[in-house]
């Protein structure tokens, strides 16, 4: 099968896109996060996520921070 074939438990880079521009200090709060503000008024948060459980953990924290998620994508390694 062409393309990248991941098992659900292997680490992957995810990009979360949220509304509003986030302050860079968020990067420390989410370990290993790369943050980039975009012209359309959203912010992309990229981090290496170890497995599905970790993914849900990040989703919880984004929710608790009151952020509005507009997209979640798995990015090529």
């Amino acid at each position: 099968m062409p393309g990248v074939n991941h098992s659900a438990d292997s680490p992957a880079t995810y990009e979360f896109r949220v509304s509003g521009h986030l302050d860079p200090l968020w990067a420390a709060h989410f370990e290993g996060l790369m943050l980039a503000c975009d012209v359309d008024g959203t912010t992309s948060l990229r981090c290496e996520i170890v497995d599905q459980a970790a993914l849900h953990g990040v989703l919880h924290r984004l929710r608790d921070a009151g952020l509005s998620i507009v997209a979640i994508t798995q990015v090529d390694r």
């Binding site: 509003g20 200090l25 420390a28 608790d64």
Partner: protein, 859 residues
């Protein structure tokens, strides 16, 4: 808040992100006039409630807080019922059903993600008591079956869009509540930028209060793309004096705040005053009680503060956590002390605290939390602390996990030999666990050796240890066919279980005890065991689980003695207690006895359907499967002339006459012999097999029940082979053996061939009153079967097979042609046709077809 006035909805879900004022909305509604007549129970959930036992305990406590005596946790049934099984929930639901109107609020439901809790909640929601209005406040839609409620109009949903302020509401808030002077344009700008999000509006208002250039702030705010909370929090923080700013940042690590705790963390002395000031200025703190002793930060704000702290002063984090941990410890709040110790990554300290509090945690059923913490500790730390190692091992074992346990125990023992009593208890626990595992996978020799070891280790231990190990040993011995030893083991087990107060477990064990006694042919003793179990179960209100099982057991004994009315009465008692009154096995046990009664009435199709149901519902519960339901069904096929189906069963089980015999397969082999008997070509094989089985049972010397059944088989086989004299010998022996206990059905169920043999026996030995009585009973039984059709379970529809036959009856195929078409014997077809006629109240083919067409069954 008009939207709450409708009284038809019984569930309200408020789902919105943090900071939308969900809790405020609910609190306001509850304080309003609409709500006068209802009591209110409020449960604020946190991560520690993410465990079924804890969750329901606190839920019930919340209800009791609102309505004392609304629910009465029955101590005995609390332990007897599986924690928050459907049976236990039924008790709660029933108690609330007859209570006054009440609102139950579950706040922060999103912190619960345990599947067992969700399953219980789903059940609760599906069976919600009428007087209860359930309100769920959450940041994430709950995974519960709300669709049906929605369709029935009983669900009310409040979502973010409903909670956002409209422009008018924003205006009122800013100008009236916050006392700000603003133009309409400014209000519109703020409203648009914050999208009516209350938390953001609040922050904006705080910034504006006392701001020297509000207009500039608003226009800059409008033009900025930053996440509103980020922007506004920073604004607010920047406008605070440095000491306040530091206070906010440093105390952000705390889940709850109180003056003295804040002082400990900040190193200052004005904690209380600062908190009061923040409260008065409406700056991010929420009081947790009326006395304003404890506060917490608004969720969003706390997140932001922590993020800032991590970014600006990371090296301070550890120190702050340690200070908090220290304060909590000094004030006797060990759980929080442990959490902060982990927050500081101070594992030594955490380990010390865990050692000090583990007993309390286990008593309060905080095992999940304890396990989580223990797993966070570095392994070397645990091996250096034997007491902690033992706690860890014990907690793992109660969670059904055996990984690491061996290692933990040997580490503990080598570190400190004085812990040997605790080590013994845990070794006994492992042996018991291993025995159970082996039993589940059917490895009897392994079960025996582990069980024996468990009994040995438990001999100086508690009643429950001794009871559980003796019970498991009893099961293994039974599977091996060592019935005397098994009965002894179970007698011991039941005594210890009763002494330990584990009554429901004792009742469950009574099932095993009785089964073994029945295998030994001791009907009276088995009945006594059932009666004792029933007495114990009926001491509680509602009766303990297992009461239904005892009734079913008694029904079985009555059936064996041909006391059919009593048997039916016991079954009715069992059913009236309800499904949740039975232990897991009762679902199939009840159906097996019901099937026997149906067969006795001649309702063969229903009986077989009932047995198929029973098989589907079978659970072993670790009992050896010494009487497989499939074999019982095969015997039913034989009794009703469905020989092909019976042969199919034998083939499916790969039974051959060359098989070695064992107790575990005795019933199957005896059934196989009966199958062989049904074919003239294999009668000789049946005779041989029967003899082998009889010899085997005789050698065992304690299988009285089996022996009677096998001698009956032998009599029938010999008779079929033409060896009448020896047939009568076998029958004579069977009759004598069965006489004392009154086992009658074992003969009657064999039908016409047995009737003939009994008659011959009475002729041979006219002085045998037992044989005469049996003959009378057997004859009467046959007459009864034709007349009585009052079944336990009403049968008013045709089975699939009968429907097939009916359709073929409507064609012009003859009987033999139908049987060829369906590839079953003519006898089978005739039986089905008989049933079809009976159900359609017809006595001819045309009448049946006509009636079926009238009813719309045929077109």
């Amino acid at each position: 808040m008009r939207r709450f006035t409708s009284d038809t909805a019984t569930v309200t879900v408020i789902a919105a992100p943090a900071g939308f004022g969900k809790t405020t909305a609910i609190a306001q509604w509850l304080a309003s006039d609409d709500h006068r007549e209802r009591a209110v129970a409020w449960l604020s959930l946190d991560a520690r409630d993410n465990d079924a036992t804890t969750f329901w305990r606190y839920l019930i406590a919340a209800i009791e807080g609102a309505l004392p005596r609304a629910v009465s946790p029955d101590e005995r049934s609390g332990r007897a019922l599986a924690p928050m099984s459907e049976a236990a929930l039924d008790v709660l639901i029933n108690q609330l059903q007859s209570g006054p109107r009440m609102t139950l609020v579950l706040d922060d439901l999103h912190v619960i993600d345990d599947t067992v809790v969700h399953a219980g909640l789903s059940y609760f929601v599906e069976h919600l008591p009428a007087p209860l209005h359930l309100v769920m406040v959450t940041r994430a839609d709950p995974p519960l079956p709300l669709a049906r409620l929605r369709v029935e109009g009983r669900l009310r949903e409040i979502r973010a869009r409903d909670l956002r302020f409209t422009e008018a509401e924003s205006a009122r808030y800013l100008t009236e509540a916050m006392g700000l002077e603003m133009s309409d344009t400014q209000i519109a700008t703020l409203d648009e930028r914050t999208e009516g999000w209350i938390a953001a509006l609040q922050l904006a208002a705080l910034t504006l209060q006392g701001h020297d250039d509000p207009a500039r702030f608003i226009s800059r705010f409008a033009g900025d793309d930053r996440y509103v909370v980020d922007y506004l929090v920073e604004e607010v923080l920047q406008h605070q004096p440095q000491p306040i700013r530091e206070f906010l940042l440093h105390t952000s690590i705390l889940g709850r705040l109180t003056g003295a705790l804040c002082d400990a963390v900040t190193g200052l002395s004005d904690g209380s005053a600062t908190l009061e000031d923040l409260d008065r200025r409406n700056l991010f703190v929420v009081p947790l009680d009326d006395r304003r002793l404890w506060y917490r930060y608004h969720h969003l704000f706390a997140e932001m503060l922590r993020a800032r702290l991590t970014a600006e002063e990371p090296e301070l984090l550890r120190e702050l956590h340690l200070r908090a941990s220290d304060w909590y410890e000094r004030n006797g709040l060990l759980e929080q002390a442990i959490e902060h110790a982990f927050g500081a990554r101070a594992f030594d300290r955490a380990a010390d605290l865990l050692e000090a509090s583990s007993t309390a945690l286990r008593q309060n059923r905080q095992e999940l939390a304890l396990l989580g913490w223990l797993e966070m500790l570095p392994p070397e730390m645990i091996s250096a602390r034997p007491s902690l190692g033992l706690t860890f091992a014990g907690t793992l074992l109660s969670a059904g996990r055996i990984d690491r346990v061996e290692q933990l125990l040997s580490d503990a023992e080598s570190a400190d030999p004085s812990t040997s009593e605790e080590v013994r208890t845990l070794h006994a626990g492992i042996a018991l666990y291993r025995a159970a595992q082996s039993m589940v996978i059917g490895d009897i020799p392994a079960t025996l050796s582990s069980a024996r070891r468990a009994v040995e280790l438990a001999s100086s231990g508690s009643d429950i240890e001794q009871g559980a190990s003796a019970g498991l040993l009893g099961l293994a011995l039974w599977a091996q066919g060592e019935l005397t030893a098994a009965a002894e083991s179970w007698t011991t087990a039941l005594e210890h279980l009763a002494a330990a107060g584990y009554i429901s477990d004792m009742i469950g064990g009574s099932l095993a005890m009785a089964d073994i006694l029945l295998a030994q042919g001791r009907l009276a003793a088995a009945a006594a065991v059932y009666r004792h179990g029933l007495d114990e179960a009926m001491r509680s209100q509602p009766p303990l689980r297992g009461a239904a099982d005892m009734h079913v057991g008694l029904s079985g004994v009555h059936y064996a003695r041909n006391e059919l009315e009593n048997a039916r009465a016991e079954l009715r008692s069992a059913e009236s207690l309800g499904e949740h009154s039975g232990l897991p096995q009762n679902r199939h046990r009840l159906r097996i006895v019901a099937a026997r009664l149906l067969l006795a009435e001649g309702a063969t199709t229903e009986a077989i359907d009932m047995l198929i149901d029973a098989e589907r519902l079978y659970v072993s519960d670790m009992f050896p499967d010494v009487r497989p339901i499939a074999a019982v069904r095969a015997r039913a096929y034989l009794a009703t002339g469905l020989y092909q189906e019976a042969r199919d069963w034998a083939r499916g089980r790969s039974l051959t006459t060359a098989d070695p015999l064992s107790y575990a397969r005795e019933y199957e082999h005896a059934t196989f012999a009966r199958v062989l008997l049904s074919d003239p070509a294999t009668v000789a094989d049946a005779v041989t097999l029967a003899s082998r089985l009889v010899e085997d049972a005789r050698d065992a010397a304690d299988r009285g029940g089996s022996l009677v059944d096998l001698l009956v088989l032998q009599a029938l086989a010999r008779s079929a082979a033409g060896d009448e004299a020896n047939a009568l010998d076998a029958l004579d022996e069977a009759v004598s053996l069965a006489e004392a206990e009154g086992d009658v059905r074992v003969f009657i169920d064999e039908g016409a061939p047995m009737l003939r043999l009994l008659a011959a026996l009475t002729k041979r030995t006219p002085t045998s009153s037992a044989a005469v009585r049996l003959l009378a009973a057997a004859t009467a039984g046959r007459a009864v079967a034709r007349v009585e059709r009052t079944s336990i379970f009403p049968a008013s529809t045709l089975t699939a097979r009968e429907l097939e036959i009916l359709r073929l009856l409507a064609s012009d195929l003859s009987g033999p042609e139908i049987s060829r078409h369906l590839t079953v014997s003519l006898n089978t077809v005739r039986t089905h046709i008989k049933n079809v006629y009976a159900k359609l109240d017809a006595n001819s083919r045309q009448a049946a077809v006509r009636r079926a067409t009238e009813l719309g069954i045929l077109h």
